[in-house]
């Protein structure tokens, strides 16, 4: 079936929107941060599945697996590595903000944070 050939890409976008749904309906800042992690993983899946090459190995060569043997795309792997670090750092910053808001307001429910309305 032809749709299976594009299924991983659709999964990536599904994760993106589910993650955004989680953020838009979160009642706890920790839940928000984890939903952002889900959004982030959608980018990993899209990148890695774009670079996938069927019946190919990892881009690590050795005497048993010399350069020239079929291999998946190394560039998307490097991009994903960069992306992981970016995600980890944003998580750290948001967790810090969560700790501080808990100290000031006593709650981490986004609905209870007194918003800047208007």
């Amino acid at each position: 079936m032809s749709w299976t050939l594009y299924f991983p890409y659709a999964v990536a976008f599904w994760l993106f929107f589910i993650g955004c749904f989680g953020v838009a309906h979160s009642r706890n800042l920790i839940h928000t941060i984890l939903s952002l992690t889900v959004v982030q993983s959608s980018t990993y899946i899209l990148l890695l599945s774009i670079g996938f090459h069927a019946k190919a190995g990892a881009p690590i060569f050795s005497p048993a697996n010399p350069p020239g043997s079929p291999s998946v795309d190394p560039i998307v792997q490097a991009l994903t590595l960069t992306d992981i670090v970016v995600g980890a750092t944003v998580t750290a910053l948001l967790l810090t903000l969560t700790i501080q808001i808990h100290r000031r307001r006593g709650t981490i429910d986004p609905r209870d944070l007194r918003p800047m309305r208007g």
Binding site: L5, I60, P74
Partner: protein, 251 residues
């Protein structure tokens, strides 16, 4: 917006967005059929050019090393940001409360403490091992640094807060983290003036398959390892200190 209306609003537009994007995605090459000039070129010439067997490392630290420098600074900035926002008295010296450490360590037997310390040492060594074998294995500075940082978690869990705070001195690790970050840029500037291009890999690249190979890649990798490892230790120390403050305020 009320929660119900927000849900309906969101689901409606998310469905439209999802539909449009999935329709568009059919223009991509089918899953498993990717091929292109850029990646083929790198795969075929990477090992020859730089004696690096792990092409992803070569891409990360050599061909696209400038991106990795930016990424490293994202990590640096967020550790700075966490320190900025959480160091209690903000830039002035923080006094550690030492009075309750005997209560902490009292509940732990000698066996736990010994195993934890041993495990911490083993994990730290493993981190260095992973980082050192960057050119021939899937290891690298980032991965090794994260493993090294987690060794300190063993000390906190097994031996206690006081021991953790004694080993993970924030100022020292902070200085080393800045050192690692600065080294990366300084290497780039040095090669810019010495070899004509920023971050140009003009050092002797060694033999492919050897542990020390890849030329400048190895030095950059070491700088990244120092920065990430020390950054993780600083983050752990700051966050664990926060749990301590909560406990003290609850007493």
């Amino acid at each position: 917006m009320s929660p119900r209306s927000r849900t309906i609003f969101f689901l409606g537009f998310a469905a439209i967005g999802f539909g449009v994007l999935v329709y568009a995605v059919q223009g991509l090459p089918q899953f498993g059929t990717f091929s292109g000039a850029y990646s083929s070129f790198l795969l075929s010439t990477g090992t020859m050019a730089r004696s690096i067997e792990n092409i992803a490392t070569a891409v990360n630290f050599d061909y696209r090393g400038f991106d990795t420098m930016g990424e490293e600074y994202i990590f640096f900035t967020s550790v700075t940001g966490v320190l900025f926002m959480l160091s209690g008295l903000r830039g002035r010296a923080v006094q550690h409360e030492e009075r309750n450490e005997t209560a902490q360590t009292r509940g732990q037997s000698g066996a736990i403490r010994m195993i934890a310390t041993g495990a911490a040492g083993f994990v730290a060594a493993n981190g260095i091992y992973v980082a050192a074998h960057t050119t021939a294995t899937p290891g690298g500075g980032f991965q090794g640094g994260a493993v090294f940082g987690s060794a300190f978690a063993f000390i906190y869990l097994g031996v206690g807060y006081a021991a953790f705070m004694t080993t993970a001195k924030r100022e020292i690790f902070d200085a080393f983290e800045a050192f690692g970050a600065g080294c990366y840029v300084l290497l780039g500037v040095a090669t810019a003036f010495a070899a004509g291009a920023f971050l140009k890999n003009s050092l002797y690249t060694g033999q492919s398959g050897a542990i020390v190979s890849g030329g400048l890649v190895y030095l950059i990798n070491a700088a990244v390892f120092i920065e990430i490892a020390c950054g993780f230790v600083v983050l752990l120390s700051v966050f664990i200190h926060q749990t301590r403050q909560v406990q003290e305020s609850e007493e």
